[in-house]
């Protein structure tokens, strides 16, 4: 899908073992498959169906999304780390596309 922009907000550093908030947004229409076009033909479903966040290869969250998730999915959760490293965020599209972005974080 064209024009899919992932965005992530995390702090630049965090204290070991202390939870902090991670916020993510991705621009995506989340076409539910329940709508019809102007001629009355059903518009095929095309959504982000899975989102994962990993830190240095360890799972933070793994989420299965349904068409009831709003357009431009917003996902917020908490993470905690014991070392500096890298978060990897991945969104899986119905059409097979995979969007990914990574953010490094320091220990405070």
């Amino acid at each position: 899908m064209a024009d899919v922009k992932p965005r992530v907000k995390i702090p630049s550093s965090a204290k070991a073992g202390e939870a902090f908030t991670v916020k993510t947004l991705i621009s995506h229409s989340m076409e539910s498959g329940l709508r019809k076009d102007g001629d009355g033909n059903p518009i095929p479903r095309q959504i982000i169906n899975r989102f994962t966040c990993e830190f240095n290869g360890t799972s933070v969250v793994d989420m299965a999304l349904e068409p009831a998730i709003s357009a431009n999915p917003y996902i917020e959760f908490d993470a905690q780390i014991d070392a500096a490293g890298e978060f990897t965020f991945t969104w899986y599209d119905d059409d097979g596309s995979v969007y990914t972005t990574s953010n490094g974080i320091e220990l405070a």
Partner: protein, 128 residues
Amino acid sequence: IGAGGIALLAGTPAMASAVEEAIAAFTGGAEIGESGIEINAPEIAENGNVVPIEVSAPGAEEIMVMATGNPSPPVCRVSFGPAAGSSRLSTRIRLAKTQDVLAVARMSDGSFVQTTRAVKVTIGGCGG
């Protein structure tokens, strides 16, 4: 007052059985407790297409969310890994009409808890 919001109220009532079946599939038919899980959501949705919800169940390994009044109730299912800082998720969902949002959590000891929260979806239009 505007006619534009009326479409929000349309849609077929969800089959209660669809919700029950999804819960049974998630729990394997286990008994479900009612404490230790919370849904936070606006009392009245500002826009039925974008309703912020937050589910949290301290100690949960996985949470499933359903919109019991949507034509298709499933919303999402999230599992929390070793690097999660809590068992909490915020997201934004579509609600076809006024209804209960339901969340079920699988705790680390294998037990289940669930809760609901009423969200009103309104046409709106007048103020003081």
